[in-house]
């Protein structure tokens, strides 16, 4: 569509627009990529005042760790390949691998497959290939860029960050599964019922959505700590202490997330024509059967999107997990507070940076794969709700 010349934006306006977008992209990406760079440098380089020192890492290179031109080229090629794979291959594979009507299974398979492929390519294949090429390339194989993975090793291996990772995985998977199961049923019921009760549930859920989480945690803490005593009349000696239990945190996070989940899923179910399940009802299905056989096969795009947001809530949570879990089974995000609270040396700080990058990396992959679903989720909630 070409507008008449008089209506086309002036050169100045176009330059302003392009400049503004470029500036925003720089601002949006810079802090994240910068901590990515910092995490691979020795402490002196990572916190150097001169940005060039941080990028090139002379101290790190002097320490004997560095990347050659060949490494860089190979690395860039691998990353680009992974990006293409994520943007094109993964959705296609998800569609191909999923049994009919089980799109989510395909997505999980494709996602796991992609994560595995990325891990193998980056950790195993890339260093091998680059090492072999460096050995024969002569001057091209000499390190020009300082980089070291030692902070990652000390965070993941020495400080046992993998335990926190496993806890995060457990809590996140639990929250996503339970909150989708419960939320889908509620969302469907609320979307198909025009009764005053449904309306009131939605309004009250909206008010619950606004509550600061610390208000709720203040209510949980005394009960959770004393739960063994409080529950013993009912459960006897089997009464558990809820404090420090991952499954108790899962229940809490699911409930905190319910208001948001049911609002979002309700708007998705409203976009599915009601004629569909009415036809099934005419054919003699009950509401539950109609839901099972007519709605479930077509609801997966909405459920995947809502699942993404549940994932983010559980994965990013600091307040609830830090107060309700003890040090033994802490998740990743509160665990990182332990690093920067004891920042006595700059090495500790770079380790904190490496831990932060480790937490961010899965989110980065998530945006790569699910960009379309995230955008549609954001807009669906707003445009219809």
């Amino acid at each position: 569509m070409s507008a008449p010349a008089a209506l086309r934006p002036s050169f100045g306006l176009r330059a302003l627009t392009a400049g503004g977008v470029a500036l925003w992209c720089l601002l949006a990406a810079f802090p994240i990529f910068w901590i990515g760079i910092m995490s691979f440098k020795s402490p002196v380089d990572a916190f150097a005042a001169d940005p060039l020192d941080v990028v090139l890492g002379p101290e790190t290179r002097a320490g004997g760790a560095g990347l050659s031109a060949i490494d860089l080229l190979l690395g860039a090629a691998t990353l680009y390949g992974l990006y293409r794979l994520a943007a094109r291959g993964v959705p296609a594979a998800a569609a191909r691998w999923s049994p009919p009507g089980r799109l989510w299974l395909g997505w999980i398979l494709a996602g796991l497959g992609f994560a595995l492929a990325a891990l193998i390519a980056l950790v195993a294949l890339l260093p091998l290939a680059a090492g072999a090429l460096n050995a024969v390339a002569g001057p091209l194989g000499a390190p020009i860029l300082g980089a070291t993975a030692e902070h990652y090793v000390s965070v993941w291996v020495d400080n046992q960050f993998w335990r926190n990772f496993a806890n995060s995985l457990l809590v996140t998977a639990g929250v996503v599964t339970v909150s989708l199961t419960v939320g889908t049923l509620a969302g469907y019921g609320l979307a198909r019922s025009g009764s005053a009760l449904a309306f009131w549930i939605l309004i009250i859920a909206l008010i619950f959505r606004a509550l600061p989480h610390s208000v709720l945690v203040a209510g949980y803490l005394p009960v959770f700590i004393n739960s063994a005593e409080l529950l013993s009349p009912i459960l006897g000696d089997a009464a558990p202490t809820l404090y420090g239990q991952p499954w108790a945190v899962i229940a809490v996070l699911v409930s905190i997330n319910q208001p948001f989940t049911i609002w979002m899923l309700r708007s998705f179910f409203q976009s599915i024509p009601a004629e569909l399940d009415e036809a099934a009802r005419v054919d003699g299905c009950t509401h539950l059967q109609a839901f099972r056989w007519v709605i479930m096969p077509v609801m997966w795009p909405g459920v995947i999107t809502t699942g993404l947001f549940s994932f983010l809530l559980a994965y990013n949570d600091f307040l609830v997990t830090s107060l309700l879990l003890d040090a033994q089974n802490q998740t990743m995000v509160p665990a990182i507070a332990g690093y920067f609270n004891r920042e006595t040396t700059t090495t500790d700080q770079v380790e904190a940076v490496a831990a932060a990058v480790s937490i961010t990396a899965p989110l980065f992959l998530l945006v790569m794969i699910f960009q379309r679903q995230i955008v549609s989720g954001l807009t669906a909630g707003a445009v219809k709700g």
Binding site: W24, A29, M38, F47, A198, A210, L319, F340, L363
Partner: protein
């Protein structure tokens, strides 16, 4: 749909919300009027030290916690009325500060300090988020089609990143002689310490919050722009409306419901500002209401959590958000009622 069917569908969800949201709220309300403390008793203790000929004995009164039959400290819960609220609000110190007319004296009281920050933070970021989001949506709407995907991808990064880590990533650019502090020092030709005083930290927090939330506003407004009615825009052009007039009288009214929605979500989220305090470790200078409750809930040096004070501050926080949201909730209510019939 019959009531019974609806009950089956929403039952589990409502049950969870009642158990884990409504019940704790009632619990917090009750706790805020109670105080649970170890019970103390005063006993006479006679301590004797061996001396020449006879022992030297001293009798002292000692206060110690009562131990139950299982060897644990016995606690007792008493009703203290508004005492916990008074401990949080500290009305005497407020009166003294007001009598002295001293703002800085008032700002030494934690609750009022937190309230001041939370409110200014919420209302300063709201227009910034809406403005940046709208500007970005308009700009991206005009750029080449092939660039939009990557721009949205990059924009989603600050939105999706873990809030504590987002705050940390900005902090690490400025900490000590980090690259941006060094750049600022070179530019302004003076020594700068970004984390030594409150207002610079608040500036960084403002930047962080806008950086974190503007993508959300941008994506929603951008989607809203795609559904804009091109007929109205064209007739505005035919009528000779300038670019600014088209934005003011056609585009913004079209986006108005979305702007209200973003404001609603932003008010809710910004009022519970908390991760900034952790990420920037700013508790010495700047605190927020939710952080105040969090701080009461974390065990202090002797391992005690001040549950009653936390409950009082939580209730006060809740009253605040309800007051803030009433106008917006009433609007949502009216819209909802309107579309439902």
């Amino acid at each position: 749909m019959k009531f019974r069917t609806l009950a089956i569908f929403v039952g589990p969800s409502v049950f969870l919300m009642l158990l884990f949201i409504a019940a704790p709220l009632v619990g917090v309300l009750v706790q805020s009027f109670q105080l649970t403390q170890p019970r103390f008793e005063t006993v006479e203790v006679e301590t004797c030290t061996p001396g020449f000929l006879t022992q030297t004995c001293v009798t002292e009164e000692e206060t110690r916690p009562v131990l139950g039959p299982d060897g644990r400290i016995v606690t007792e819960t008493v009703w203290v009325g508004w005492q916990s609220y008074r401990n949080v609000l500290e009305p005497e110190r407020v009166q003294a500060a007001l009598a002295a007319g001293s703002w800085s004296q008032l700002m030494t009281i934690d609750f009022w300090k937190a309230l001041r920050f939370t409110l200014t933070f919420t209302f300063l970021t709201l227009p910034l988020v809406l403005g940046v989001g709208l500007a970005l949506a308009l700009a991206v709407d005009r750029t080449v089609k092939s660039l939009r995907g990557p721009v949205i991808f990059i924009s989603l990064l600050p939105f999706i990143i873990t809030p504590v880590i987002g705050a940390l990533s900005i902090r690490w650019l400025f900490i000590g002689d980090g690259i941006l502090t060094a750049a600022l020092e070179g530019w302004l030709d003076r020594d700068i310490a970004m984390f030594a005083q409150g207002w610079t930290i608040e500036l960084l927090m403002l930047f962080y919050r806008v950086w974190h939330v503007a993508p959300f506003a941008f994506v929603i407004l951008y989607a809203g722009l795609q559904t804009a009615n091109s007929d109205t825009l064209e007739s505005a052009i035919v009528d000779g409306a300038s670019r600014w007039q088209r934005l003011r009288y056609v585009t913004i009214p079209h986006l108005a419901p979305l702007l209200v929605f973003i404001s609603l979500i932003h008010l809710m989220d910004c009022y519970r500002a908390f991760e900034e305090i952790i990420g920037f470790s700013s508790q010495a200078h700047v605190i927020s209401l939710q952080w105040l409750t969090y701080d009461f809930l974390t065990p202090d040096d002797s391992g005690n959590r001040s549950i009653s004070r936390a409950s009082a501050s939580a209730m006060l926080t809740m009253v605040g958000i309800v007051i803030l949201l009433i106008p917006l909730l009433r609007r949502t209510w009216r819209d909802h009622r309107g579309t439902r019939g």
